[in-house]
């Protein structure tokens, strides 16, 4: 009975119900939009930062993390790499040798970082070929190296010059070699730009006397949220004693600080939004009550029980909220789907730089289902709390006053 009454009440005054519906519906749209842009940009921040160097996670020898020397290496097989590449969500797997050398040309020498890579695989993480400014890119079988622009300026070398490199190899063996510069790369990261030398993996293995060993395997994912899943699968592939899996949380501790700060500030922004939409909803609820004072008064005067009237009104608001939330979800679904596929582009002076990192300068939206659920729930709760206002009014009012005021 009451339910039917509540339902009819909603449709009796369509205009009023429609306004209430839209205020609830749009509250859901705004809340999901806000949450989506915050989640999306957080994921993007992580996805972008790991592309600067580390990848989403790395496989290393457990001892390597404590002591980064060439002695703590892991054995490398193509089979393992291939298996990891085939895991869903993995976009790049790059076997690396990271070490140092003293690099000289003529009478100038400098300590530099050496990165042994498979160029085709590494390109998907560091985007090396886009960083090339002179000469050509190395391939897996070349004998030469590509060096960072800043380093080439310091050493006063050009493409075609031969570098003398001296370092320490596996178990203290002497490492020395001559390498022809095939190309020059411009790294945006100043430290890399001053020190980096990239050479094919085979050459690095020969130089450091490493046979088929590596210092790390860097892995890049389609998206950060796949990390726990992929990590688990990788742990199943590699044996526990010889390998350890280290995620960006440990590789780039600064990023956690950034991410956490962003997360915390986005919470404050969403609280501000809640207060705005909450007040908007309260406004419509309050008006709705004021508008219906006369109606309430008459109902009470002809003998409707207060409790019953309250239950009817409460049900009405609950019904309106549910419909509003569902409509809001549908609309935000459409909107987010659009923005998810068409992120807001930020035409900016950093475009070139962003390009050399292989990242996108745009505002991304997230489509995680949890956003819809939590925000719909939040708005529903706000509506629920606000619905006590008309109940209190009905509780206090007397028929005579109410009829007159209406």
């Amino acid at each position: 009975m009451i339910l039917i009454l509540a339902w009819r009440n909603i449709w009796r005054n369509k205009r009023r119900s429609f306004i209430t519906l839209s205020s609830i519906g749009f509250a859901v749209v705004f809340a999901t939009l806000m949450m989506s842009v915050q989640k999306g940009s957080l994921d993007q921040l992580i996805n972008n930062t790991v592309k600067f160097y580390t990848g989403h996670f790395q496989i290393q020898n457990p001892k390597y993390w404590e002591e980064k020397t060439i002695d703590n290496t892991l054995i490398y097989t193509d089979e393992v790499i291939e298996k990891i590449e085939n895991i869903e969500g993995v976009t790049a797997v790059s076997p690396r040798i990271e070490s140092f050398s003293l690099t000289s040309y003529g009478s100038i020498s400098k300590a530099s970082m050496v990165l042994g890579i498979t160029p085709e695989k590494e390109d998907r993480i560091l985007n090396l070929s886009k960083k090339l400014t002179k000469g050509k890119m190395i391939t897996a079988n070349s004998k030469g190296v590509v060096i960072a622009e800043g380093l080439s300026e310091y050493l006063k070398v050009e493409v075609g010059d031969t570098l003398v490199m001296i370092s320490q190899g596996f178990h203290g063996s002497n490492a020395a070699g001559l390498f022809v510069i095939e190309g020059i790369l411009k790294f945006t990261n100043p430290i890399h730009n001053k020190q980096m030398i990239c050479m094919p993996l085979k050459e690095a293995q020969w130089f450091y006397d490493l046979d088929n060993k590596l210092t790390s395997i860097a892995i890049l994912l389609q998206d950060n949220k796949l990390l726990p899943l992929v990590e688990k699968e990788v742990k199943g592939i590699v044996s526990k004693e010889d390998y350890t899996v280290i995620s960006w949380h440990k590789l780039i501790p600064d990023l956690i600080e950034m991410a956490e700060m962003k997360y915390a500030s986005s919470r404050i922004m969403i609280l501000i939004l809640y207060s705005v939409i909450g007040f908007g909803m309260f406004g419509t609820f309050l008006m709705m009550t004021a508008e219906r004072m006369r109606e309430f008064g008459i109902l009470l005067a002809i003998g409707m029980k207060r409790k019953r009237l309250q239950v009817t009104t409460f049900l009405e608001i609950l019904l309106l909220s549910s419909i509003g939330v569902i409509m809001g979800l549908a609309l935000s679904g459409v909107l987010l789907f659009y923005f998810y596929n068409n992120p807001i582009d930020l035409g900016s002076s950093y475009d070139k730089m962003a390009d050399s990192y292989g990242i996108e300068m745009s505002i991304q939206f997230s489509m995680q289902s949890s956003i819809f659920i939590t925000q719909a729930f939040a708005v529903f709760i706000i509506a629920f709390i606000l619905s006590f206002y008309p109940l209190i009014v009905i509780h206090k009012t007397t028929p005579v006053v109410a009829i007159r005021e209406g």
Binding site: F30, E257, R267, V276, G283, L346
Partner: protein, 404 residues
């Protein structure tokens, strides 16, 4: 006449008026706090790196930038720095002598950058004294004190008062070694400060390299509300031969991140603003539609439609005028409170606390933002009333009277 009726109408139905005033107050408050918080976030986010390490602007000899050779000092560096200190928008400027070298303890050795600093001005520019976690800021040790980062101290396994040896090339290219004693240990979230720098007194290092009074770097900290580029331009127009760069050029990654953040925050503000417009329009719509009976009555007794229309609009303006100062005051009070006390982000994220970061943001707002926001919100309210007012005058008086 209409003014009077409108004013009386506002106070006749208090409940309704209070709702509209309330949404205007909340709107102004939300926008003010949101913008202030956003500003605080932008500044606070960069603050650690800019304030303690890079500074807003750095000046070098262009040759020095290439290979950090100590021969390439800034001509008359000290004089230039003291001139810069008098410029508008400059909070501080300090000079440094920068020498690449090696630090060794009995246990280990490590490559570092030796930074000869001007104690008083370095404290103003990078607040180096505030990040000393153990020991003192160059005090308590008479001869050759040095400050090192916590990670470096750990690597070298040295403590306060331990002896370390710094090795470097002097101005003639001779390798020189000198004994220093650790006066203090500094701690920061910046990797370079923790691991790469050894801070010494400028006069000590200058004496050791044999270049008295010469400096390699001038670091400038500016007022956060002041454009760095203006100071860079001013410098280059007065002194040629040196290279002046803002942190955007020195740390482009940071600049890129900052730009992405600010645009994201603008998107967030747009969402809040649209939500606000919706709230106000909805409330206004309800407020006018509720009065159909009353408005019908007015028209039935012969009030001109145009007059009714303007009456509704003027009422809205009145509501705005009453609501705006309240909203402004609450907004100002919130910002003022947090500018003094800061917003502690760790309250909103368990993670931050767990990692032991102190992340306190200090929101601030320019005066003109207050004005823009207030005018914007009142205009929004009036626009919100346009449609319902138009709807009202299209009423047929008889029908309107019949409506509940």
């Amino acid at each position: 006449m209409i003014l009077k009726i409108a004013w009386k109408n506002v106070w006749r139905s208090r409940g309704r008026s209070l709702v509209v005033i309330g949404s205007i107050v909340v709107g102004i408050w939300a926008l003010l706090f949101g913008t202030g918080f956003m500003n605080g976030f932008m500044v606070g986010y960069m603050a650690n790196i800019i304030d303690h390490d890079i500074s807003n602007i750095q000046i070098h000899n262009p040759e020095f930038k290439k290979d950090l050779d100590i021969k390439f000092f800034i001509k008359n560096g000290e004089e230039k720095a003291s001139t810069i200190r008098t410029w508008e928008g400059v909070k501080g400027a300090t000079t440094r002598t920068i020498v690449s070298g090696m630090i060794s303890s009995p246990k280990k050795a490590s490559g570092i950058q030796i930074r000869g600093v001007d104690l008083k001005n370095e404290a103003i520019v990078t607040s180096l004294d505030s990040i000393v976690s153990e020991g003192t800021y160059f005090e308590g040790i008479n001869r050759n004190p040095v400050l090192i980062g916590s990670k470096l101290a750990e690597n070298l396994s040295v403590k306060v008062k331990s002896k370390v040896v710094l090795t470097f090339n002097d101005s003639h290219g001779n390798i020189t070694a000198a004994a220093f004693r650790v006066a203090g240990i500094v701690k920061s979230s910046s990797l370079s400060i923790n691991e790469m720098y050894a801070y010494v007194r400028q006069e000590d290092i200058n004496r050791l390299i044999g270049q008295e009074g010469q400096v390699h770097e001038i670091a400038i900290i500016t007022d956060p509300r002041f454009e760095e580029s203006a100071i860079v331009n001013k410098y280059t127009s007065i002194y040629n031969g040196d290279i002046a760069e803002s942190w955007r050029e020195i740390a482009p990654e940071l600049a890129m991140m900052s730009e992405m953040y600010s645009s994201m925050l603008y998107v967030l503000m747009t969402i809040i603003l649209t939500a606000l417009v919706f709230g106000i329009v909805n409330t206004m719509l309800m407020a006018v539609l509720e009065r159909f009976r009353e408005l019908g009555m007015l028209m039935a007794v012969g009030m001109n439609k145009v007059k009714v229309y303007f009456m509704i609009l003027i009422e809205t303006v009145f509501l705005g005028v009453v609501g705006a100062p309240i909203g402004l005051f609450i907004g100002w009070a919130t910002i003022h409170y947090y500018t003094l006390n800061g917003v502690d982000l760790s309250n909103y994220s368990e993670g931050l606390e767990a990692f032991g970061y102190s992340s306190i943001l200090y929101p601030y707002l320019d005066t003109n933002v207050y004005i823009t926001v207030t005018i914007g919100v009142i205009i929004t309210a009036v626009i919100g009333a346009l449609y319902p007012a138009w709807k009202a005058i299209k009423l047929n008086p008889v029908e309107a009277l019949h409506k509940i």
